[in-house]
Symmetry: D2
Subunit: 254 residues, 4 copies
């Protein structure tokens, strides 16, 4: 996992005076669009996270390749970024390591920290052997039940509630990271879980929020490969009405 | 309030086969960056909402001007958008009206609805007289308490939890719309509330999540004007350690 | 006419060391894409010119509105821009005035000049009365004679040769500005010329380079209005095989 | 060399009616910005050429990797692109081959040709051994002699005239491709030429146009490597007042 943090962003947004909010929104969205492209080129997955902190899954890639993104930002944006990389048995542990390494280089709002690059003792060869599990969730009939029926405010709050419940559960129970990726979609990066774990996650969200999710799951050597399989498995959920698809070709509903 | 909805986006993302996730992330972020610029040019505020549904506050502007954005998307993107506009006494009512009008033109996933434009009987002159209230919240010492200390996963979950609690409270108690805008910032668009309402909102989030917010509030004829004042008021909170600033120049803490 | 110049761009591209060329290409293209959108919002026309110097026709607009673009660049790019605005009877004279005013604020490579804004004694009300003439040229059957037949190197050189010949002639004979805008298209901004002037320009390019152009011409209060009419007139050339269209509804060939 | 061509672009720009020119300018510039990034990621060089036809040098890269760009365009833009790739002893011959292959798949304006991919019998392994020569030219003291002194119209025409003279000479005498890249910079991709060839090119431009160029030249396995060396060599010209630098570390002036 990689953590990309804009250097001294808070202070910059109000120096020399308060900057126009819509310009900041554009800047953040553009930076993320670039980051998603960059990570996508390397068959990884990117999440906007908090925009000033962005997260990527880049299994099997040399950590040094992130330096190129750092250089690109310096050449294209009025801000610079620092990068932390971590590798561990679970996504949460890996991102924890990346966070600690970045924190060790200085505060996100320190004028002394600029373009820090904290990767630890990485071993690209070993990386190449690992597999990542991606789970792609969405809301069953979101268009019919939310978008075409509810006030957009309430449709959004419903999706946010389901996302937060799911992300909290997956973090606590399975050391996994889940992120909203637009529409009614949530993508989770997980260790090697079985179908029953996803079945429980779906049940948990239904009980806590009344929202019914379905999920496609797949494994691969890169996030792109795993994620692509997960999206195809999710299509099977949509067609068959099952709730969990993609692990061993069997639905957890069976 | 304006609601912009990508036409038939779900089906498009899997036709003729599942599209690469990072390309979709880039597309959505770019579309939002463009939307934020477009709305910013008109002194409004834009929120990414669910990305395939985006929301804007465009007080005092002719609803017809949104047609230009529709045309721009058609000329720049592989997707088209439909637009609904609503005007009412509160942000939630206005967005509800925009949602209903858009829903009345057809389903978001219907092949028959394309570039719908649903504004109702708008009256641009009357619009120009109204004032909007913007409240800009952030987490007290987010860098010290979250970014520089926590695993990025947990820092993000904390901000999400505070955001959801705040947005739900403001929606239920004050018919207001609150949206995460990056970092630890949440912007709310509100009717004419007094300082004590914001004080209660901050207390509510503290009690439910343990997270301490501060907020700058301001009114103006456009969202930009109100929002700019709110950001400056928030700077006063940062400097003085107060929790609510900007209404009548008095802090609610006094 | 407005002239937008990146401040100290040459030095920046090699500081602290030589920056990656493709990043600079992306930066310049993005800045121009933004500029074209910005100017387009105001119904003007924009040209990339030399990328570090960009040019726009913004008849009937308050010069002050360009300050907003300056602010936007500061908030979105690693560079800043200075702006000169000039108003005169011909496009060349107007751009000459804009150039002089900008030059008077300091050198393009001076560290002392940053975000200069040089508009002279502008009079927005008077501006609103003027009309601009736009001529949109392209190569007759460029696809059949060049793109589908020649080496791309030679197709491009042919278009460049025709463009340079045309631009030089229009500048010398009619104080007009012509710019390549992609494909085989050249757009000229002119004073009030009659059809015979365009007929002579087309002949001149044919004689000097062997390349046959056709042109649609139109007048309007904004460059967008005039340019839109010119593009429609050019469609008439394509359909009827005439060489000049759009002035008084009569072809110069008649 | 790779040639990227927008499919049926001319017809698209006027269907169903004439599209807004500034939107087209934005679209083209954005597509090129993306292309430059994509090619830059692979250590190549990209030129906007005619925007609807773009050109890249991608030595030592598998031709198949261009498919990824094709897919990205389909997912991000309202247009699609076809790609031709050619490999030969000189840049002009390589681009000629790429042009022929693309032309063989159908007309650029044919509704039948869409996302053609024409690479011939490419051999990525063999590719990896070749070296490319890049020459980076600029105008001696362009800021002092042009930008800070002339009407922007005339400064631009001067640079265009020098560029066209240079590009025509290098194409005729050395089967090389030269392209304007912004400001007063021209980049040429060449076979293995010696310093005297560049010296003659600089003299030729001086005699024909009165404009004095200087040039840095370098060789490398990728265009980025060669181009980076060329830019550093050009810096030596600027510092020492010589006209050709970078080949064997000796100036042609010596």
């Amino acid at each position: 996992m990689a953590l990309v943090q804009i250097d001294e962003y808070g202070p910059w947004t109000v120096t020399p005076s308060v900057r126009r909010e819509t310009d900041l929104q554009s800047l953040q969205a553009d930076l993320y669009a670039d980051f998603a492209s960059f990570v996508g080129e390397r068959d990884g997955y990117a999440f906007y996270n908090r925009f000033d902190n962005m997260v990527a899954v880049t299994n099997g890639r040399d950590a040094e390749s992130h330096r190129r993104f750092q250089q690109r930002v310096r050449n294209r944006y009025p801000v610079t970024v620092s990068v932390g990389v971590g590798r561990a048995a679970t996504p949460v542990a890996a991102l924890g390591l990346a966070s600690e390494r970045l924190q060790a280089t200085g505060s996100a709002q320190s004028a002394d920290r600029r373009e820090a690059f904290a990767t630890g003792e990485t071993n690209p060869v070993a990386n190449a052997r690992e597999r990542v599990t991606v789970a792609h969730f969405d809301v069953v009939d979101a268009t019919g039940s939310l978008t075409d029926r509810e006030n957009a405010v309430d449709a959004t709050l419903a999706v946010r509630r389901a996302t937060l419940e799911l992300a909290t559960h997956l973090r606590d129970a399975h050391d996994s990271i889940a992120h909203f990726v637009g529409g009614d979609n949530v993508i989770a990066v997980c260790p090697d879980l079985d179908a029953s774990a996803f079945d429980r996650a779906v049940s948990r969200v239904r009980e806590a929020t009344g929202i019914e999710l379905q999920v496609g799951v797949s494994r691969g050597e890169t996030a792109h490969e795993a994620g692509h399989g997960a999206k195809e498995a999710l299509e099977v959920c949509r067609e068959t009405g099952t709730r969990v698809q993609g692990l061993d070709g069997v639905s957890a509903d069976d």
